[in-house]
């Protein structure tokens, strides 16, 4: 199911943002609480004896908040880092070094947020470069600097640990924490609940499967020989999520899988737990990093493809409109010239005749009037020719089932209906008798009516369009009904006049053309307002076999 990309809004990094103090304070409090909570969780994965956490999502939390809400989050980040340090290293770390660690974390996060902003990262992960940018920034700026700070802190507080031994562990821990937490946080905080109203069964099914598989693999009930291959079952599920679900859901599912896997392994359960905490978490981290990359890259690829398709459709629409306008423009220009020439002769002869009459030059007057007459006929002939040309272009009519006529139109407009969040009810029975139509023309009529209806209901939350077809016995009736505001009463009379548009950007030819197309088929197109609001357009089309209410004979239905 296609899902529109998340909005492109990019947060401002400025210290002087328009956000109120209360908003900044509450976001800061949220950052501290979340940072502290994931920090506590990180300390679950601390192999003896040195207390180096093997998963450290806190830096990623800091980066997500600072990227989204600006540098004003940095003080809160400093406080949170200080809290964690104070809690877990206690007296072991001198104040000066502790301050250094806090400042290094803030610098890394600030630099990361700056880089995301500077290089145009978009929180919807709409392009591959967004994913790659987040990865590079996470690996270099955020995790790189934070890991340096962390390793340094360890080296200062625990004498047996060298800086270079611990730096690698800290970097991996920061990076995997970052990969799991940051995409989900950014996706949720930037997009909120947008685009979540569709595909709920799919989301529930995927979530249940992923949680089920992960719980089974990392609860320790299975043999390693079975659990290890099963741990890869999350890949196809995450790929499916990336292709079908909004980015918030995909990233959250990955986070849940990661949390279950890390927690299980941290407690010594599951297929990765056998090699000792440090080794096992590193192996698991590698698998999780691949999982995150798979999910994010696929989601970005899907978004890129969908926006390319949307651009393509828009382009086609523009072309069609431009084509219609230019044909109309050319036609009216040449028609004007063809008519203005004889009219100019007519008026000139008329004025000359009046003067000749004044001077009683009757012979000249007679000649002038003869010329005037023949030029008036010339103008009339031009009009006759234009009409004849227009009539000769009637395309071939074929017999077809109403459903086969309507379904392709609805498919054509499906992306537009989705984008405008319009619900469509279709009541076109398969058993309706065949009609005789020029499909291209009646499709044009349906597109016009549906587009108008979409525009009418666009601003409503419960915008609904109903397309129904009914056998009247002598003809087929098709109605397009919307629950919009209806047609303004004063417009009803001139609704089908050319150029009577009241929509901005319309050229006012959709309805008159639709009416003449329906009439060329021997049908009628009418519009009414419903009593309870909304408008209904109704048109009739001739049945292939009149009075087909009494079933189409089998021999006829095969004749196409």
């Amino acid at each position: 199911m296609p899902i529109a990309p998340l909005p492109q809004t990019r947060p401002s990094l400025s210290f002087k943002s328009a956000d109120s103090g209360i908003l900044v304070a509450s976001r800061s409090a949220m950052l501290i609480a979340l940072y502290y909570a994931v920090g506590l969780w990180g300390y679950v994965f601390t192999p003896d004896p040195y207390g180096i956490p093997l998963v450290w999502p806190a830096t990623g939390v800091g980066l997500a908040f600072t990227y989204l809400y600006g540098y004003r989050m940095l003080p809160a980040l400093g406080i949170a880092t200080g809290l964690i340090l104070w809690q877990f290293t206690e007296d072991a770390m001198p104040l000066v070094e502790a301050t250094g660690v806090v400042l290094a974390t803030m610098a890394g996060v600030g630099l990361g947020a700056w880089a995301l902003r500077r290089f145009g990262f978009s929180p919807g992960f709409e392009r591959l470069r967004d994913v790659l940018l987040l990865l590079v920034v996470g690996a270099l700026a955020a995790s790189g600097l934070a890991a340096t700070a962390g390793a340094w802190a360890m080296a200062v507080s625990i004498e047996e640990l060298g800086f270079s031994d611990t730096w690698w562990l800290c970097w991996v821990a920061d990076l995997i924490g970052f990969l799991l937490v940051t995409p989900a946080l950014i996706a949720w905080l930037a997009a909120g609940r947008r685009h979540l109203d569709s595909g709920l069964p799919m989301i529930v099914l995927l979530a249940a499967s992923l949680i089920g598989v992960s719980a089974l693999v990392y609860s320790g009930v299975l043999e390693t020989g079975l659990a290890m291959p099963l741990s890869y079952a999350v890949f196809p599920l995450v790929m499916l999520a990336a292709l079908r679900c909004p980015i918030q859901i995909t990233t959250s599912l990955i986070l849940i899988v990661g949390a279950i896997a890390l927690s299980g392994t941290g407690w010594g359960l599951g297929p990765f737990a056998d090699a000792g905490l440090e080794q096992s978490l590193l192996s698991l981290n590698a698998q999780l990093a691949l999982l995150v990359l798979t999910g994010l890259l696929l989601a970005a690829l899907r978004n890129e493809r969908e926006s390319a398709e949307a651009r393509g459709r828009q382009h086609l629409d523009d072309l069609a409109r431009a084509g219609r306008l230019s044909t109309l423009g050319e036609l009216s220009a040449s028609l004007a010239h063809e008519l203005n020439q004889p009219l100019c002769a007519v008026t000139s002869y008329a004025s000359a005749s009046r003067r000749l009459l004044d001077r009683e030059r009757l012979d000249d007057l007679r000649d002038a009037l003869t010329q005037l007459d023949s030029n008036a006929h010339r103008a009339a002939e031009t009009i006759r020719q234009v009409r004849a040309t227009a009539m000769s272009e009637t395309p071939r009519q074929v017999a077809m089932a109403p459903r086969d006529l309507i379904t392709p139109v609805l498919e054509l407009l499906d992306p537009e209906l989705k984008r405008r969040r319009v619900r469509i009810d279709v009541d076109v029975a398969r058993s309706l008798p065949h009609i005789r139509v020029a499909p291209v023309q009646i499709e044009q009529v349906l597109v016009n009516l549906l587009r108008n209806a979409m525009e009418a209901v666009e601003t409503r939350l419960d915008g609904t369009i109903r397309v129904a077809a009914r056998n009247l016995g002598t003809a087929l009736e098709i109605t397009v009904t919307d629950n919009g505001p209806g047609i303004p009463e004063e417009r009803l009379a001139t609704l089908f006049d050319p150029f009577a548009t009241w929509k901005s950007g319309g050229i006012g030819l959709g309805l008159p053309i639709s009416r003449s197309l329906v009439e060329a088929h021997g049908g009628q197109l009418t519009a009414t307002n419903l009593d309870d609001g909304g408008a209904r357009f109704r048109f009739t089309l001739p049945l292939e076999v009149p009075d087909a209410r009494s079933q189409t004979p089998a021999g006829l239905s095969g004749r196409r």
Partner: protein
């Protein structure tokens, strides 16, 4: 001496019905009209001495009306041009007027509009011709000056007093006064300022800086 030509309306329109209808209309107002079906026919007929005005359709076979106007100007034919068109789009009208058209009428036009425009065009042409004739006369007189008188005239136009001119030309003040009197007479100038006006009307002196009244 060629016969004095009467001012004429030169109509160019490729539509024979329009051509004969407009010709008839203008003739009922006692204008002399020559009508042509294309641009070349007009260019073969008129030169820079032809008095009159042109009424041109914008869209013509071969050279269109606006190009025809440009070609007339290139040949030094300054007769006023009125455009008539059955297309009547504004950019075209703006282009025509920017290139010096006197008027732009949309077909079908009101008879009074065309007649008024033609009358105005012929009056404009007459003024232009009168101005041109006067200028030709002044140029003829300028050519009749001796080199010395010409030097004095140029110095006068620069605003130099007689004394200064005498020193520059290394002659006496009295001689300068004589030259000055002669050239005023030859140019038919009634005063110093009249002389300046006459001389400056000529292309030769048009760019001369003037410092004296």
């Amino acid at each position: 001496m060629p016969a004095v030509r009467h001012p004429q309306v030169y109509l160019v329109d490729d539509d024979p019905d329009v051509r004969s209808a407009v010709t008839l209309l203008l003739k009922t107002e006692d204008f002399r009209v020559s009508a042509f079906g294309d641009a070349q026919a007009l260019l073969d007929t008129v030169d820079d001495k032809t008095p009159g005005c042109a009424v041109l359709d914008v869209r013509l076979p071969g050279m269109d009306g606006i190009s025809l106007q440009r070609e007339l100007r290139n040949r030094g034919i300054r007769m006023p041009v009125i455009f008539i068109t059955g297309h009547g789009d504004i950019p075209m009208a703006v282009r025509a007027v920017n290139e010096g058209a006197l008027d732009f009428l949309e077909k079908p036009f009101r008879d009074d509009s065309l007649i008024e425009a033609v009358r105005h065009a012929l009056a404009t042409d007459e003024d232009q011709r009168a101005g041109a004739a006067e200028m030709a006369q002044v140029e003829e007189r300028l050519a009749a000056l001796t080199p010395r008188e010409r030097q004095v005239l140029e110095a006068l136009l620069e605003g130099k007093p007689n004394k200064l001119i005498a020193r520059d030309l290394d002659v006496s003040v009295r001689t300068v006064e004589i030259h000055r009197g002669n050239l005023m007479q030859k140019m038919g100038a009634k005063s110093a300022s009249h002389l300046a006006r006459l001389a400056l009307a000529c292309s030769e002196f048009r760019d001369q800086p003037v410092s004296a009244g």
